[in-house]
């Protein structure tokens, strides 16, 4: 993958042991899920077979969660739109 931006600086608090670390670039992560995604995104060409599988599984989890999140976003957009229209109707109609 074409990478243009540098890796961000990370700092692990002294009383904490990182849950997962990237085997390729040593970057620490708070969850195995994030590490798996990172390895797949940033080290695609160097990833081992297991790592690629883990990446696929992490993507699958993301897809499920994302579907739910998007459902909420679409409902949010619809409600916002409807509320705005009603608000304008009320204000421009002189009820307020």
């Amino acid at each position: 993958m074409n990478r243009k931006l540098p890796d961000p600086l990370t700092r692990v608090p002294t009383d904490e042991e990182p849950t997962a670390t990237c085997p390729h670039c040593e970057r620490p992560f708070r969850s195995v899920h994030a590490r798996d995604l990172h390895v797949g995104e940033r080290h695609e060409s160097d990833a081992t077979g297991t790592e690629s599988e883990r990446y696929e599984r992490a993507l699958e989890t993301e897809r499920d969660d994302l579907w739910f999140f998007h459902a909420k976003a679409v409902v949010g957009l619809g409600v916002t739109y409807a509320a705005s229209v009603i608000l304008y109707m009320v204000v421009l109609g002189g009820f307020l």
Binding site: P8, R30, A34, L37, R42, E62, D65, A73, V74, V91
Partner: protein, 505 residues
Amino acid sequence: MSERSDGNRTRGAGRRAARAAVRAGLRLGPWPLGVALVGTASAHAGSLGGATASATVPTWLTVLTGGIVVGATFLFTTLLTDHDAMRGVNWWRVVVPTPAGARRGAVRLTRVVSVALLALVLVTGLVGPTTSTQNFALLFVWAGWWAGYTMTTYLVGNTWPALDPWRAIAGGLRWVAVALLGVGTSRRGDERSADGGVVTGDRFRLSSATIPERWGVWPAVVGLLALVYLEVVSPIGTNSRALAFVVAAYSVVTVAGALVYGRAWFDRVDPVSRVFATYGRVAPVQRDENGFSLRLPGTAATEAILPDRPGETEFVVALLWVTTYDGLVSTPLWSRLLTPIAQAGVPAVLVYVFVLLAGFGVFLGVYRLASRYIRERADTYVTVDEIERWLAPALVPIAAGYHVAHFLGYFLTLAPALGAVAVAPFGPPNTVVLVLPDWFGTVKLACVLLGHVVAVWVAHSLAFELFPGVLAAIRSQVPSVVVMVFYTMVSLWVITQPYVAPPFV
């Protein structure tokens, strides 16, 4: 909405312009785009007053709608999660071929022109007419340069390094000192610059003095706050003699600084250069290793993280804050709040400086707090400082949008006067001002909103680069979007307020 004169900078100038127009006699006539040249003060103010304000949509609803649009934009961008497609948009570019010879020739020409213009500003400032709308220095500096030229730095590209008259003077002085007087032993060193790979030397520096690294770009932050303070509390907006004096002082300091510290002066101290460089981050024309390239507006900011130096983030926050401050001190609310304080015997200039610094502190504090929440929500070990630095470029389109809203009308209003005076700076004719049509107020609001919409996209793109996966990147944006919604509403409120000259200064 508003009877707001669009810029605060030459606050008296608009009104004087209107009076001058009356003296000039009425010149009614059609103008392209429905803009008319009118010559009465009341028409001028009344027309500006038309702004957004359809009589039926109250200000609070306009302001609320702005907040809703920004929030909805965020919800909409969460649906765009294909990272490769986002990069396809953000990395799209067309390389514009620029022969090196043509570029060098153009730069030499612009240097001569810019130094001549600086000289003309100083001379007309000192001996030119004192009427604001007939004085070349006042019109050129505030309407032409600070309003008009600044807009080109984010709408087109940052051309300041080529146009900067002080760079030209410093370079010329150094050449004279080295070639003719034999001062300084270092030749013009050829080295690769960190940003573009262009072979250049430090063509300004005569000494080996350096600015301490730990200061970072803080000198520029202090310089920016000081410049805006000076502009708000001093008469340089309407008094050409005072303006000429400030420009002369600025010239001496800048040229001396460049000769002592070299390029670092323009990179880390000179607030003017930094403002234009910062605005240039969102411009469609960018300079990189391949020469010039054309980008989609705002996308360049998704690729260039701020350098890891103290004060980089703070400068961007300061840029956003000073634009807001400038608008805030010319609202009726400010006058109402300041009057009792000033009457109680507190010197107004101290209140102005206190609010300038306190507001900057609040903006920094809110930005830092949002970055903390971002860190928590993204569940990451990336440091807060790093998050602040990564996401700061997303603030630039907001500042740019607010700047257009603030200055476009002001620039257009005074542009005919500037044109007329530029033709005959020493014997200026009577000038007229443009009166903008009613729908122009809506354009201003649209500019503020557009800035925020671009900012949401830039923040979205940067979050995807910063955090792995999709959900962490999306969730992390919620705190910054909440801040943006509030900031949009505050800036829209300021824009819709009638203009009142900052009192007691």
